[in-house]
C-alpha cells in the first residue's frame, strides 16, 4: 500500500464511503451559489402553480383518480389508453378556454364527470374501449377548460402547462396504482366502494354547481 491510498482511506484521514460521498454532495448543494442573470422570470413559480393546481380542487382530484381506477378495472389496453387520452383532450379544453371559446356548464360538467366516472368504477362497468375513451375524453374538455387557463399574472404559461399536465398524469398514476388491489376479491369490493363514494361526492359538487 506504499505510495497509494487504500479504498477505505482518503484525504485528511477521513474514511471514504457512501455516507461521506453523500455528505460531500449535500455540502456542495447547500453551498451552491444562487443563479443570476436568467432573464426568463416566473418560471419556477409557474411550474409550481401548475403542479399545485390540479391537486387543489377535490372535484378534479376525484375525477383524475377515478380515470386511473377505472382503467385498472378495465385492464389493458384501457389502463394506458385512458391516461393517454385524458391529458390530450384536457389540453384541447384548455386551448378552447385560452382562445376565448366559451363552454357552457363547465362546473356542471366537472361534477357530472365525478358522478359518472364514480358510477363506472362502482358498477365495474366494461363498455367498449371506444366508448370508455369517448366518455373520459368528453369530460376531460370541461376539466381543461376550467383549470387550464387559471395562470396568475407574471408567471410562465409554458411552465404552468408543464406542471399542470404532469400533476394530472400523476393523479392518473395514483389511481392506477390504487387499482392494483383489483387483483384480490377484497380489493375489488374496496374499489367499487371507493367508486360509490366518488359518485356521491360528485352529486355534492353537482348540488353546489346548481345552488
Amino acid at each position: 500500500m506504499k505510495g497509494r491510498v487504500s479504498r477505505t482511506e482518503s484525504w485528511a484521514g477521513l474514511k471514504a464511503g457512501p455516507y461521506n460521498s453523500l455528505l460531500a454532495v449535500l455540502m456542495l448543494l447547500v453551498s451552491a451559489a444562487p443563479a443570476f442573470a436568467h432573464v426568463q422570470q416566473g418560471q419556477a413559480q409557474g411550474f409550481l402553480t401548475g403542479l399545485r393546481h390540479p391537486v387543489s380542487g377535490l372535484d378534479h382530484v376525484l375525477a383524475m383518480i377515478s380515470v386511473g381506477l377505472w382503467g385498472a378495472q378495465l385492464g389493458a389496453p384501457a389502463v394506458w389508453l385512458l391516461p393517454v387520452t385524458f391529458p390530450m383532450v384536457m389540453a384541447f379544453g384548455g386551448f378552447l378556454g385560452l382562445v376565448g371559446i366559451p363552454l357552457p356548464g363547465v362546473e356542471v360538467g366537472i361534477a357530472l364527470s365525478a358522478v359518472l366516472l364514480g358510477l363506472m368504477v362502482a358498477r365495474e362497468a366494461k363498455p367498449s374501449l371506444v366508448a370508455a375513451a369517448l366518455l373520459v375524453g368528453f369530460f376531460a374538455i370541461f376539466h381543461g377548460h376550467a383549470h387550464g387557463t387559471e395562470l396568475p399574472p407574471g408567471q410562465s404559461g409554458l411552465m404552468y402547462s408543464i406542471g399542470f399536465v404532469i400533476a394530472t398524469g400523476c393523479l392518473h398514476g395514483v389511481g392506477i396504482a390504487i387499482g392494483v388491489v383489483h387483483k384480490w376479491p377484497a380489493g375489488k369490493a374496496a374499489l367499487r366502494f371507493a367508486g360509490a363514494l366518488v359518485a356521491l361526492a360528485g352529486l355534492g359538487f353537482l348540488w353546489r354547481a346548481f345552488a
Binding site: 443563479a35 443570476f36 442573470a37 436568467h38 432573464v39 426568463q40 394506458w80 391516461p83 393517454v84 387520452t85 391529458p87 390530450m88 384536457m90 389540453a91 384541447f92 384548455g94 386551448f95 378552447l96 378556454g97 385560452l98 382562445v99 376565448g100 387550464g148 387557463t149 395562470l151 404559461g157 409554458l158 411552465m159 402547462s161 408543464i162 399542470f164 399536465v165 404532469i166 398524469g169
Partner: protein
C-alpha cells in the same frame, strides 16, 4: 340572411386577425444563462434550463428510441447536425424570420407521434429530426445574435443535445418490458398536451 352573412364575414375577419397576430415574428429571446464559465457552459445550461428546447429534444429522442436503434443513431447525428447548421444560419442572419409560436408544432407533432407509437421508417424520423433541429437551432442562433452573445454558445447547446439524445434514445431502445414502452407513450401524450396549451397561450398573447 344578409345579417348572418355579415356576422360570418366578421368572424372570419376576426379569426384571420388572431392568426396573423399569432404568426407575427416575435423578437428573439436567447435567454442564455450566464454561468460565468464561458459561452460553452452557458449553452449547455441553456438547454437544461429552457423547457421550450429541452422538451422537444427529449421527445424527439423518445420517438427515435421507440422506432429502433437505426432511427436512434440517425436522429442523434441528424438532430444535432441540423441544430448546429440552423443555429449558425440564424446567427448569421440575426433575425428569427419565423414566429416563435411555430415551436409549439414540435411539441404537438413529436408528442403526438410518440403517443401514437406508430412504427415509422428511420428516414421519416430522421427527416423530422432535421426539421426540428433547423427550426429550434435557427431560433437559438438568431437569439444569440440579437443578444450579442458569442456564437460559441451554440457548441455548448449542440453538445448538450448530443448527450441528451444519446442517453434518452438508447434508454428507450433498450426497453423490453411492455409497460415501460407504454410509459414512454404516456410521456409523449403529455408533450402533445403541453404543446396544445402552449399554442393557446401564444394565441391569447
Amino acid at each position: 340572411m344578409r345579417f348572418s352573412v355579415a356576422i360570418a364575414s366578421r368572424r372570419r375577419g376576426l379569426a384571420l386577425g388572431v392568426l396573423a397576430c399569432a404568426l407575427l415574428p416575435s423578437p428573439a429571446e436567447a435567454h442564455l444563462v450566464t454561468t460565468g464559465l464561458g459561452p460553452i457552459y452557458d449553452g449547455i445550461s441553456h438547454v437544461l434550463m429552457s423547457p421550450d428546447d429541452l422538451v422537444p429534444v427529449l421527445a424527439m429522442a423518445l420517438l427515435a428510441g421507440l422506432n429502433g436503434p437505426v432511427a436512434g443513431r440517425r436522429t442523434l447525428f441528424a438532430l444535432t447536425g441540423a441544430w448546429l447548421v440552423g443555429g449558425m444560419a440564424g446567427f448569421l442572419v440575426g433575425q428569427t424570420l419565423v414566429p416563435s409560436t411555430i415551436t409549439t408544432a414540435s411539441f404537438l407533432v413529436i408528442g403526438g407521434l410518440t403517443a401514437a407509437d406508430r412504427r415509422m421508417s428511420p428516414t421519416v424520423v430522421t427527416a423530422l429530426a432535421v426539421v426540428v433541429g433547423l427550426l429550434h437551432g435557427w431560433l437559438n442562433g438568431a437569439g444569440i445574435a440579437v443578444s450579442q452573445r458569442e456564437a460559441l454558445g451554440l457548441a455548448g447547446i449542440v453538445s448538450a443535445i448530443f448527450v441528451l439524445v444519446a442517453v434518452a434514445s438508447a434508454f428507450v431502445v433498450s426497453l423490453r418490458i411492455g409497460w415501460m414502452r407504454i410509459a414512454v407513450r404516456v410521456v409523449g401524450s403529455w408533450v402533445a398536451a403541453i404543446g396544445l396549451l402552449m399554442l393557446g397561450w401564444s394565441l391569447r398573447g
